[in-house]
């Protein structure tokens, strides 16, 4: 019964996405260009990757507030290694992901073994990562290598510019990672354990499952994806500012909730998350096209978010 309701919510979200796109396009045909499509994609990568990761944390009946600043910290430190310490770009890319993983592990240990409430634990690591990144680069911002430069090949992971033709390879990457994550969450044992402990921690523990380990995994995934998101951000926006990133996590979490994942744990949908993130990107990019300033996007996101959570609450009430 719950699954059908969730499927309905996801379907509604998908319809909303399509309708939004069409409406914007009708009001301003310039919105329908391929360049705009690539712009929307560009703005979605880093939030989408973070959102896929945090879906796991939220499904485990937790939250990860540190993903935004962990994104910045990993991109800062690895970017600094590349530009200032002349570490090869390939190594830098791996370091970026590893830093995210490390913070994820820290969060997991704090929540699962030290029994800290997820909100507090990840708030702590949020501040930790914010400061650490800044300390490492001595408060300097880092600009990743440009597309034409020798170290700029990593950008092609997200976008290839073949003589003026833009290929949004990042979209393929995002779909690929989403598919893998979805399979992990819904079809593998670790994923099912995460869903189970998010739904009823005690019952899952009593049935002999090592809940601490799987809960930690949820946060490790969240942190790792934040590291990958750091690469996406560097590919599109080049400059990483220390002290930046705080606030990104809210965009990611909003995407997750709009997509249908329940904030009370026990149900997570990666495809829904992707739809939620795309809805926000379309709003963000599209509103200026119809003459509305970007603050309206924030208002719109807030309304959509409240509505999505309201639907979730109604669903749960009906179940009980």
């Amino acid at each position: 019964m719950k699954k059908t309701k969730k499927r309905t919510q996801r379907l509604i979200a998908l319809c909303a996405l399509v309708i939004l796109y069409i409406v914007f396009r009708l009001i301003n045909p310039a919105f329908g260009t391929y360049a705009t499509f690539v712009n929307i994609m560009d703005a979605s990568y880093y939030i989408g990757l973070m959102a896929i990761g945090v879906t796991f944390a939220i499904t485990s009946d937790g939250i990860d507030l540190s993903i935004g600043t962990v994104l910045t910290c990993s991109a800062l430190i690895s970017g600094s290694l590349i530009t200032q310490y002349h570490v090869p770009v390939a190594v830098g890319l791996i370091v970026c992901i590893l830093i995210g993983m490390a913070f994820g592990l820290l969060n997991g240990v704090m929540v699962s073994y030290m029994k800290l409430p997820p909100f507090i634990a990840t708030l702590g690591s949020m501040m930790l990562s914010k400061g650490l990144g800044s300390i490492f680069t001595r408060a300097q911002s880092i600009t990743w290598p440009q597309a034409g430069a020798p170290g700029g090949w990593f950008r092609q992971i997200f976008k290839i510019n073949a003589n003026g033709v833009l290929i949004p390879t990042g979209f393929i990457l995002l779909i690929g990672i989403a598919a893998a994550a979805s399979m992990l969450l819904n079809k593998t044992r670790p994923g099912r354990y995460i869903v189970s402990l998010g739904s009823n921690y005690e019952a899952t523990r009593l049935s002999g499952v090592n809940v601490a380990k799987w809960r930690t995994l949820a946060y490790v995934i969240s942190g790792t994806m934040a590291g990958v998101a750091g690469l996406a951000y560097a590919s599109i926006y080049s400059t990483i500012l220390p002290g930046g990133g705080a606030g990104f996590e809210l965009d990611a979490i909003a995407g997750v909730v709009i997509g249908g994942t329940s904030m009370s744990g026990g149900f997570g949908t990666v495809s829904g998350t992707l739809i939620g993130v795309l809805i926000m990107s379309v709003l963000k990019t599209g509103l200026p096209f119809i003459g509305l300033q970007t603050h309206y996007q924030q208002v719109a996101t807030g309304i959509v978010l409240v509505f999505a959570v309201f639907v979730d609450v109604i669903n749960r009430k009906r179940k009980n």
């Binding site: 911002s141 080049s238 400059t239 930046g244 200026p288 970007t294 603050h295």
Partner: protein
């Protein structure tokens, strides 16, 4: 008996604490009132900037450190996480004042927000030297001097150079044309000065040519005229983030009548370059102008994507600020210093007069 002695001990500790607290609060004001003769004996000078986000501030810090070494003083250079974090900057200013320094340097994100602290500093006799944006609208006598670029003049310089590049296109246009102005915010003096300087000068030059001009896009600069030949479209993002700035640029670049876009600082310049990444009109049919330097903007100017940019002298800004602080702390008379600005293009950016200002 035991409870009583614990109680007495606690009282004794508390009383001592209160008394010692009273004593320390009496000393500082006296020390601040008397100017210090020997610079070497000065305590730390606090500089509260707008943030570390852009390499521009790194250059300011370098200049400040140079002056500190030369005068033999210590400086503490601070800034908030982002240039939207007004509350954080106010906290830093408050903290600086509590340390009772011989002087404070301040580049306010928003003067109104800092007002209470500025009054407190003035009351405690701590001289404030404004730098970069300075502290426009501060109460009389609170800011003893400013070390900054004349931002309005810098904006005008950008307009003059840009006008030379677009004059013919505007003259030959059949329909209306649009000039975009990207301002990071609408509150700090440096940004609003450069924005207004450009907008006013451009309007003046175009009207002298017989064109009608309408300024739109943001309430602070709005001056609408119907059916104008030229629209100056001002875009200010809701928050100072790379993504929103990039979206502003994309929005402008997607308008069919756009011929030129000006980014009034490093942040907006980079937003313009990022926003053009998928559209590719900069350097083709749209003229791009920016401010300051940094690897991204320098590269774009060199390539021809940006026609040119206006550079400030950040190292001088930092140097002069500390110098003015030291002089003010010594009780000497100080006055404003205009650190100047220059227009650079791919043709002249390597010249000795310009190159040192173009930080990475």
């Amino acid at each position: 008996m035991r409870k009583k002695s614990v109680g007495l001990l606690t009282c004794a500790v508390l009383v001592t604490a209160v008394l010692s607290g009273c004593q320390t609060s009496e000393n500082p004001p006296a020390a601040a009132a008397a100017p210090v003769e020997d610079a070497r004996q000065l305590k730390k000078i606090y500089l509260v900037s707008k943030g570390f986000q852009h390499q521009f501030w790194q250059a300011v810090l370098m200049g400040a450190q140079e002056a500190a070494d030369q005068y033999g003083v210590e400086i503490d250079f601070q800034g908030p996480d982002t240039e939207s974090d007004i509350a954080q900057q106010v906290q830093m200013l408050s903290n600086a004042i509590n340390h009772n320094p011989p002087a404070i340097g301040l580049a306010a994100l928003d003067t109104e927000a800092c007002l209470e602290n500025i009054n407190a500093a003035q009351a405690a006799g701590i001289p404030i030297v404004g730098f970069d944006s300075g502290v426009p609208g501060a109460p009389e006598g609170a800011i003893v001097a400013n070390a900054s670029t004349d931002n309005y003049a810098a904006g005008q310089l950008a307009a003059e150079e840009t006008y030379k590049l677009i004059k013919e296109r505007v003259a030959g246009a059949d329909n209306g044309v649009r000039i975009g102005v990207m301002n990071q915010d609408a509150t700090s003096e440096s940004i609003t000065g450069r924005g207004s300087g450009f907008t006013d000068k451009m309007k003046e030059l175009l009207e002298a040519d017989g064109k009608t001009v309408s300024v739109e896009g943001h309430t602070r600069w709005e001056n609408k005229t119907a059916n104008a030949d030229v629209i100056i479209d001002v875009a200010v993002p809701a928050q100072v983030t790379a993504e929103l700035s990039s979206i502003d640029a994309q929005n402008l670049l997607n308008k069919k009548d756009i011929i030129c876009i000006y980014g009034s600082n490093q942040f907006s310049g980079e937003g313009l370059i990022n926003g053009d990444a998928n559209i590719g009109r900069l350097g083709q049919d749209v003229v791009g102008i920016a401010f300051d330097a940094g690897a991204l903007i320098k590269g774009a100017v060199r390539e021809g994507k940006l026609a040119g940019a206006v550079t400030q002298d950040p190292m001088q800004i930092g140097f002069k600020t500390v110098e003015l602080c030291v002089k003010a702390a010594r009780g000497e008379a100080v006055s404003d210093v205009d650190t100047g600005c220059q227009w650079y293009t791919a043709a002249n950016m390597d010249e000795p007069k310009i190159a040192p200002n173009l930080y990475d």
